[in-house]
Point group: C2
Chain length 112, copies 2
């Protein structure tokens, strides 16, 4: 007999997305890249408490998973910027829901 309840196993959409966006920084980076492409130094300025090492590491992971695209101007000294890919842009509705949830949550805490 088949179990009709949906079990949450290694292959599940919630987990796919959690894994892609895991950690403290990826969502913040995606959010900052949404309005326009940015150079690493601009990103660092917008997310002041990320270390340079962590920023580079997270950008690499985001590029590897295809959410962000690295653009190299081919100049010396090297000049690069990062931008959202089409699929990276599709994380924006998640972020929007997270923002409205945070507002509802803070309202809830205040009134309790």
């Amino acid at each position: 007999m088949e179990n009709k309840e949906l079990k949450v196993t290694a292959r599940c959409p919630i987990r796919t997305t959690s894994d892609l966006l895991s950690g403290k920084w990826k969502l913040l980076i995606l959010y900052q890249l949404a309005p326009k492409a940015l150079r690493p130094s601009q990103l660092k300025r917008l997310i002041p408490d990320i270390s340079e090492k962590m920023l580079n590491q997270e950008l690499k992971t985001l590029c590897d998973s295809g959410l962000v695209v690295r653009y190299n101007y081919g100049e010396v000294p090297p000049k690069v910027h990062y931008e959202l890919s089409a699929i990276g842009y599709k994380t924006m509705p998640i972020i929007a829901e997270m923002q409205s949830f945070a507002m509802a949550y803070e309202e809830e805490i205040k009134t309790n």
Copy 2:
């Protein structure tokens, strides 16, 4: 002069929500509790690869942050169940967006 760009600092809605839902398990637990209240053993069955220790730890964190409510029947031996709070239920749109993102992402990977 005020900086018009939104900096992402410690107090930011994306981070508030990320922190509340951090880690591998909280979203999965919330998702499983959405249709109905569940006992710990039922949750364990629906999320087979979580350890009992981790499940209890995550449930405690979710209760502490007010997303989940622990209901104690006051019986001996102790019988409890967990259910979503009203604010916990408001995480569902985030999960729905994560699910549709995962589907778009897997489609994208397949076609590239």
